[in-house]
């Protein structure tokens, strides 16, 4: 029980993470998958930022007062980088979705698999 109180922030973040995870693996629509991925990703950021938090501390901007407690700046730096890289990869994901739609006319997983199977069967039939 003491763990539950000391780690509440982590547990809440994990619940959030799993909503994003479910969207990624259960939803067939590709835009929905990307949204799920970004929810998952932002939750991971929250986990890291929670680790850098110091009780009664403040943001890591130096005040000149030696008694001030600061939050750990290293997770912040890591996550700044991760946010920007995350958006770059998201952009590639959306570009791929547009390309898939142009080629196959659908962005639903199950329909896409059917189309590809039909094409493969047709090719096998020709050969």
């Amino acid at each position: 029980m003491s763990n539950l109180i000391a780690h509440w922030n982590y547990f809440l973040v994990i619940a959030l993470m799993m909503i994003g995870f479910y969207a990624v693996i259960a939803r067939g629509n590709m835009v929905k998958k990307m949204v799920g991925l970004s929810i998952f990703q932002t939750s991971v950021f929250m986990l890291y930022i929670s680790m850098g938090k110091v009780a009664n501390g403040t943001a890591p901007i130096l005040t000149g007062d030696t008694t001030t407690l600061y939050a750990n700046p290293l997770p912040h730096v890591l996550i700044l980088t991760a946010i920007v890289v995350g958006v770059a990869t998201t952009a590639v994901g959306y570009a791929l979705i547009i390309r898939v739609y142009e080629s196959y006319g659908t962005i639903e997983d199950d329909e896409l698999i059917k189309i590809i199977e039909t094409e493969e069967n047709a090719e096998a039939g020709d050969a």
């Binding site: 922030n9 959030l16 479910y22 970004s38 950021f45 110091v54 009780a55 990869t89 390309r99 659908t106």
Partner: protein, 184 residues
């Protein structure tokens, strides 16, 4: 203790937004909820003393990501095909949550000053930043100076992604191929 309630309220709001985002079938609403999620997440980062992360999340996560998603939606169907509740993925998500919960139970308590993460190199950065780089914002001095090469690597990743988007969407090549078509 007030921090507990602010955090809990924000995370509950995030959970609600995330839940709605995966339930709704109109993708426009889903994308706007995802933008709202990023904005509330930015507020949570302010509460957790990560102000630099907060404004990056607000600008990049809520701004640029949403614009990219809306641009995609203008080219693909705006409605999702309805799906039934999927039991196997839900079970997998619960199992993963259980494993992660067991794992984080071993972490130092939330906000603990004596956690190992706060006693390794972080004090050196906090102490050295003022003398070495002479700017008060420690996150900036670590990002741009102490860990400058990491940031250079990040820029390379963003550049590579930009090239990948151009190649996938075929900005120039396709125009040459369907040169005769007026809709190219």
């Amino acid at each position: 203790m007030s921090g507990f309630f602010v955090n809990a309220a924000l995370i509950s709001l995030l959970t609600l937004i995330a839940f709605l985002a995966i339930r709704l079938h109109r993708l426009f609403a889903v994308v706007m909820l995802s933008g709202a999620f990023s904005l509330v997440a930015a507020t949570l980062f302010v509460v957790l003393d990560a102000v630099d992360v907060a404004f990056t999340e607000a600008a990049v996560g809520a701004g640029i990501s949403t614009i990219l998603a809306l641009a995609t939606l203008s080219l693909v169907p705006a409605n999702e095909k309805p799906h039934d509740f999927a039991f196997v993925p839900a079970f997998l998500a619960f199992a993963t949550a259980a494993m992660l919960a067991v794992a984080v139970a071993d972490l130092p308590a939330f906000g603990d000053v004596n956690a190992p993460i706060h006693n390794h190199v972080a004090p050196d950065y906090l102490k050295g930043s003022a003398e070495d780089i002479a700017i008060p914002n420690v996150v900036t001095s670590v990002l741009a100076s102490y860990r400058g090469f990491d940031t250079l690597g990040e820029t390379v990743v963003v550049f590579t992604a930009a090239i990948a988007v151009l190649l996938v969407l075929g900005g120039w090549t396709r125009r040459k191929e369907d040169g005769e078509d007026d809709n190219a």
